[in-house]
């Protein structure tokens, strides 16, 4: 195996890993404030991808131009959904909340099936089929933009959480929600905003990476699974951990497929998950 091929596979893996991390970031945000594992996470992203498709078909709006619209649209959706649906159910416990999100999986999948049909669909963008070639590397632009955005978003989230009042409130709720409430923080409001931002990020992510994937109503589950793995390996609630775990999963998956075939490549994320749970149950960057 030549060094060029190994380098190409490593870079490809890093880019895919950044996409995984991008999907996991919003799951981490939602989990960190409400303790809610959102099993419909990937399905919200699938919904955003179909949203990008609808905007392209109706107004010839490119997915990259539609990304801010989808962010705000999904923020509102997430905010309202938390207020009207998630919050009342969460009062009955985190397990009830998880069951609710499981129900949302089927609702969203069948909604997409009814509206768009079950055919595989694709969304052309200005960057579709374009590559950045830096010999010996070839990098598809949609993947490159998606991975760069993941790094930028992770940095923004870090700054927001560490340097703003909102971030301090989020962290206070994560550490001790009862104490945070006693200090005058409106927990339900912060949770609703954080949930809205989490879902909004999925709107943004869906639009940014839509050119890389083929759309099908049942595609969400795969993304939920990979986000969950990345989040657990990185450490529940850790944004930096999600970024590192995404890179580890992406590169190991890519190199595993290259060196040992696709089956080994697909097995690696789960093997890493088991090892991390065995030897570092709180994740790479998680706190006890």
């Amino acid at each position: 195996m030549s060094g060029e091929v190994l380098l190409q596979a490593t870079v490809q893996g890093l880019q895919m890993g950044a996409i995984y991390a991008l999907v996991a970031l919003s799951m981490t945000l939602i989990f960190s404030v409400g303790g809610l594992l959102n099993f419909a996470h990937g399905d919200f992203m699938a919904l955003a991808m179909y949203g990008a498709l609808a905007l392209y078909q109706s107004f010839a709006l490119d997915a990259y131009a539609a990304a801010p619209l989808l962010f705000f649209g999904f923020f509102l959706l997430g905010f309202l959904m938390f207020r009207r649906l998630v919050q009342p159910v969460l009062a009955a416990g985190v397990l009830a909340g998880a069951q609710l999100t499981l129900g949302l999986v089927f609702v969203q999948e069948n909604f997409l099936l009814m509206v768009f049909g079950g055919d595989y669909l694709s969304v052309p963008t200005v960057l579709s089929n374009k590559n950045l070639i830096i010999p010996p590397l070839t990098m598809p632009w949609p993947l490159l933009v998606g991975s760069l955005l993941a790094v930028v978003l992770a940095a923004i989230l870090y700054v927001v959480l560490m340097r703003t009042d909102f971030g301090r409130q989020v962290r206070a709720i994560t550490q001790n929600s009862d104490a945070a409430a006693l200090m005058g923080i409106r927990i339900d409001r912060i949770q609703a905003i954080a949930f809205g931002i989490g879902i909004g990020l999925l709107g943004l992510t869906g639009a940014i990476i839509v050119a890389q994937f083929t759309l099908t109503p049942a595609m969400g589950l795969d993304f939920t699974l990979i986000a969950l793995i990345v989040m657990v390996i990185g450490g529940l609630g850790s944004f930096a951990g999600s970024m590192i775990a995404g890179a580890i999963i992406g590169v190991s998956e890519s190199l595993g497929s290259l060196l040992y075939g696709g089956t080994v490549g697909a097995m690696i994320p789960y093997a890493i998950l088991v090892l991390v749970l065995l030897f570092r149950p709180h994740g790479l960057m998680g706190e006890h």
Partner: protein
């Protein structure tokens, strides 16, 4: 009215009522189950199959129904298996025990068929799988697809044909979807190629849920084979072609199938730029291509276009048409709605080449059901794409275009 007249009137009324009550029992309607995915992963495929079945049933009923049942009409009971084997089993049981259907058109895929067969065996109600590549394990299940072994041999035969056309193929790499079907196709193809003296450099397993095929294409590229065989579904096929395009690796002769190389929606999904670079020089294994010469296919296309002007008449639609036409013939032969006899009639079907009931180009000549429930006499076709349209190039007996072979003028 006199007493005699009243008696006559009552007698006439009794006679008419009696005749009316007897008449329907002569024209005996028959309940047929349709067990297809209408939701879930294969929903769109299942919906297309059902359209094909409904068209044939409507045409049959409009033309006077099943003659051997006194003009009895076919009543379809359509069930959704959700693209899920467990639900397939439950719905099959419901159709057989509660709906009392005489036969079931379906299920669609191999995992669904595996769940269906024990139920069919228990209730002794027959079914026919459409894209099921397994060999049935019960006399109550038949298939109209080609077996996985048949696919493997078809790839090796196509390679042999390409060599006869001047292609220089001494080494082959195989990538396959890592499930029962893919493994059998890969093993059979590798064995048949080895028997031809062609070296198989490596058989690379790929999970069907793969999100990026770039590492796999890089691995194939590092092997530098003369030809590649890729056993893929639609989505991994799309990823494969995109990775080939992005890496600029389009030089070896590439064969593959089925949906990932020959699905009617593939060109549109990939977009012209990628499709032209990857599909036009590839050979896609297919069950169906609209350029087929069979009279039954032309008839199905004509009727399908009239019935569904806004729908793509794809491979799935034609599978539905084929299954339903087989069943109509079986019902005519059976002359009863007894499930055991209907199933026996289905298994006893024989067709001569050119029979109007034959739709799929994979059935080019005489065909009948073998002991194991597979169709004897099928042969896969290979297509090449040009400007978004599929052209059959192999076997030459049914070809509509000459092949474009990499490195051969």
């Amino acid at each position: 009215m006199s007493r005699l007249s009243r008696l006559a009137a009552v007698g006439a009324l009794a006679l008419v009522t009696g005749v009316m009550s007897v008449a329907p029992s002569f024209a005996k309607d028959i309940k047929i189950g349709v067990l297809m995915p209408r939701t879930g992963r294969y929903a769109e495929t299942g919906l297309s199959v059902v359209r094909g079945i409904e068209m044939v049933v409507k045409n049959t009923n409009d033309a006077g129904g099943i003659k051997s049942l006194g003009g009895g009409k076919i009543n379809l009971v359509i069930a959704d298996n959700g693209s899920d084997p467990t639900k397939t089993s439950l719905e099959a049981r419901r159709l057989m025990s509660e709906e009392k259907v005489s036969f079931i058109l379906g299920p669609y895929s191999t995992p669904e068929a595996q769940a269906f067969m024990p139920v069919a065996d228990r209730y002794q109600v027959g079914g026919v799988g459409l894209q099921t590549t397994l060999i049935p394990t019960t006399p109550y299940f038949s298939t109209i697809s080609i077996s996985a072994e048949g696919f493997g041999k078809a790839y090796a035969d196509a390679v042999k044909w390409l060599i006869s056309k001047g292609a220089k193929i001494g080494t082959v790499a195989i990538t396959y979807a890592n499930n029962d079907y893919g493994q059998v196709v890969s093993k059979t193809a590798a064995a048949a190629l080895a028997a031809q003296g062609i070296k198989v450099l490596e058989s690379i397993a790929v999970e069907p849920s793969v999100k990026d095929m770039t590492p796999i294409v890089l691995r194939v590229k590092s092997l530098a084979p003369d030809a590649v065989i890729s056993v893929v579904y639609f989505q991994d096929g799309v990823l494969l072609h995109k990775a080939r395009f992005n890496l600029g690796y389009t030089s070896p002769i590439w064969l593959g199938g089925s949906a990932g190389f020959s699905d009617d929606k593939l060109w549109g999904t990939l977009g012209k730029e990628v499709a032209e670079k990857t599909l036009t020089s590839s050979f896609g294994l297919a069950f169906y291509s609209a350029d087929g010469k069979l009279p039954g296919l032309k008839d199905a296309l004509q009727k399908g276009t009239a019935a569904y002007p806004d729908k793509v008449l794809d491979q799935s639609f034609m599978f539905g048409v084929q299954a339903a036409r087989f069943l109509v013939r079986a019902l005519e032969n059976a002359g009863t709605d007894d499930p055991v006899k209907v199933n026996a009639a289905f298994r006893g079907l024989k067709f001569k080449a050119g029979d109007p009931a034959i739709v799929l180009p994979i059935i080019p000549g005489d065909v009948h059901y073998a002991e194991d429930g597979t169709l004897a006499g099928t042969s896969a076709i290979f297509v090449q794409w040009k400007d978004g349209v599929k052209h059959t190039v192999y076997p030459e007996a049914v070809a509509s275009a000459k092949p474009i072979i990499e490195g051969v003028k």
